[in-house]
Symmetry: C2
Subunit: 460 residues, 2 copies
């Protein structure tokens, strides 16, 4: 330890989530001296899994990968990690206003396959609003949202307001509220909490129509941090929250609760609000300070429920369910065909989460299983495992899936999201301009930060 | 120091702003052992002043008091601090779309006195919208906003959206944008950043019509922290940021960057986002964790410019100006008649602040003086002092005047603002339900926290 403390590094990475691990690994592969400092006693951040007694793995954080997530697919290939198609044979269940429908299709903003039988006026209401929404996305150029009269206008409105103005049925309204509570790039958020501009931007750079949940990973995404960390070895220090970061043009001095380290550069690979909890000296520029106060994490718990087998398939169901039930609006079949165990991944989001989290553990479990029984039948009441992952209750992430922008943040403070401050560079899925909120976004920002630092180290 | 470390206190107050000082003083007066821990090397928080070489004082933070601010008036009386009427003899200047008006009146939401000559349609537009705004405030019961269908609807909209729907002229639009950028209880904020519900609530519990800026204080509000601190003596520790707070039913253990202290109770007297930067063990309830990510400080710098004398009075002007100039929307005469020096207090807010702050120091000064010359004439270009107070650049406050609620925060996370967590209680002007954002609000929450802790100590 003494030895490590005396060393000055080329770059210190704060945060051992996927973005931080990738940044550190890439710099080390180019021969640079790196150190990764992590507050938790584990690495991986929101990429985290475990094995159940049944031999089935579950992912406590993210779990999916899609065909256009190039950097994530390359990472899986590099580590020879095998994938399989997300199980979706059979009918989707929709429960809307206490009526249950089965249909061979799916929707999450975009729609494919059969239409559920909720009534032609209701469906038409949602589809015509969806067409207007898509038209509106085309008014934004690619990349981060810029600040101009048009974007300012879009950023002045909550998504709830847009929904109210563009839908006229209960179903149409829920269709879009469900979209922002279910889709990853937006927090998730209740529609009144998120900027219309942010939702449009998310739709452009992380479209569900590209099927980001097309495949699952044998053994889970949670195995990946171990593989990257193996390359970094003792260059990762766990259980050391960073308290202070002093910087000048020569580099950084980083104080954790236990030690002090110095380096030429730092990469802060954390969600913005957590990056804002470090004491910086000199203080960060005001625009960055203010940004870190204005970019909250989504309010969402993940629950993983496993069964002896995927019993829903006997009934011709895909294990995919959506609807405005009391607690669960989205369920996804996450069963690995090689284990034979049935796994449902589901989420409790937003105001549902606040109510649900205030109940006792047994009541929370009963609530989740009761909704699962509405979607999939009584067999859902008898799982072999039940795991809650309370991301908003975990202060080293503070929510899930990712951070989002309330109204007026992108167009006033957005550029501080990615602008380096002296020797301090930022990384993390929140600042990706392609697949933000996904593993793909984390990898892209980690790679980009490493590239920038490597270039600066060559110049230094 | 060793001695202090070994002592266990009845209550530790984190944050030596006005709320924290009042809480500690009141507990100590009842015979309880208290300790105040402050990150900065000074106490007072946003109550902070200084003397200029001319002998004139200036307040770097808040400075005014009004007739219904009972607890603040009582505090001033207790310490025998003298007040004087805010200078307002003479005409107000309004500059709108590059046209300059003088009138014997004032508006800031409510209006009194003469009407400026901006055109009857323009004025009528603002006034009829103001009547609708006031009607809407009456739909809210007193106290913190509750969560119900009506408040949810109001909380789904930005104030910008309400302005767009309720005004039809440039002037009408600016009238309300100016209101939320100039009035204290709202951050200040750009209208697209703040919830309509929050603005309505602020209007109810901190109405400008009660003249909260009616009086100024001889010697400045900045002298008050010294007087309270004198009573606390060495019970205040400066320059010790609190890093961790461990708690259970028996009490708290608080680690600063230098020491560790224990107590039966803690009062965290800071804006919510700063309270969220402490590492709590066990972690705070998720609703509180999420709240601290969602309540940003206003984006506002205060600038104090002094002159040999209040030259504007020769021209029959009150030293009060408002308008949509490039940088300054509100100027107020803050000259103490006993010193004879002329002082203008002004603010650069929101998007104006972001642009202004990106310029060099000399360019910032030139920008401010040039706007002052538009309002008050060329003599404004020759001050004897110029002081910028960059609150958003000060990480131990993070903005000014106070924190505000973006859409969807009150109705989903609001109750976590004031709900104690085990032995941890909260204070600070942000959580006041009367005069939030003002000194009055800070005193009320400090007093209330002390009362609660005193009661609990008696029961313990």
């Amino acid at each position: 330890m003494t030895n490590l403390q005396l060393t000055s590094y080329d770059c210190i990475v704060v945060g051992a989530g996927l973005a931080g691990l990738i940044a550190a690994r890439n710099l080390q592969r180019q021969g640079h001296q790196v150190l990764v400092i992590e507050a938790r006693n584990r690495y991986g951040g929101r990429m985290s899994g475990q094995y159940l007694p049944s031999g089935q793995w579950i992912d406590r954080g993210g779990q999916w990968v899609g065909p256009t997530q190039e950097r994530f697919l390359a990472l899986l290939d590099e580590y020879k990690i095998r994938r399989f198609p997300s199980p979706n044979q059979g009918k989707t269940v929709l429960v809307f206003n206490n009526k249950r429908y089965e249909f061979n299709g799916f929707f999450q903003g975009f729609h494919e396959g059969e239409v559920p039988d909720i009534g032609p006026a209701e469906w038409q209401d949602a589809m015509s609003a969806w067409a207007r929404f898509q038209e509106l996305t085309k008014t934004l150029p690619s990349g981060y949202p810029q600040s101009n009269d048009h974007t300012k206008k879009l950023d002045s409105k909550t998504f709830a307001q847009w929904i109210e103005e563009n839908t006229s049925t209960d179903f149409g309204q829920w269709y879009f509220a469900y979209m922002v509570r279910a889709v990853g790039f937006l927090g998730p958020a209740e529609p009144q909490q998120v900027s219309l501009l942010h939702v449009l931007w998310g739709q452009n750079c992380a479209p569900q129509a590209e099927h980001p949940e097309a495949e699952l990973i044998h053994g889970g995404a949670g195995q990946i941090p171990d593989k990257i960390a193996a390359e970094l070895g003792e260059r990762i220090r766990l259980g050391e929250p960073v308290v202070r970061l002093n910087y000048d043009s020569a580099g950084v001095t980083i104080e954790t609760t236990q030690n002090t380290f110095t380096a030429k550069f730092a990469i802060i690979a954390m969600p913005p609000h957590l990056a804002g909890r470090i004491i910086y000296h000199p203080p960060l520029p005001p625009q960055r300070e203010q940004l870190t106060q204005r970019v909250p994490m989504g309010c969402c718990a993940k629950i993983l429920i496993s069964y002896e087998q995927p019993f829903w398939r006997k009934q011709g169901l895909a294990g995919v369910a959506q609807g405005n039930c009391q607690w669960l609006e989205l369920c996804a079949d996450s069963s690995d065909p090689e284990t034979g165990v049935g796994v449902i991944a589901t989420f409790v989001v937003g105001d549902r989460y606040i109510r649900w989290r205030s109940m006792s553990g047994p009541a929370r479990r009963a609530a989740v299983l009761s909704d699962l029984a509405i979607y999939f039948g009584q067999e859902a009441l008898f799982p072999i495992s039940y795991d809650e992952v309370d991301w908003p209750g975990d202060p080293w992430t503070g929510g899930a899936y990712a951070a989002f922008m309330p109204p007026g943040v992108w167009t006033s403070f957005g550029e501080a999201l990615f602008t380096p401050v002296g020797p301090i560079h930022w990384a993390g899925t929140e600042m990706a301009d392609r697949w933000p909120g996904f593993f793909e976004g984390a990898i892209r920002t980690g790679e980009a930060a490493a590239d920038r630092i490597a270039l600066l180290l060559r110049e230094k």
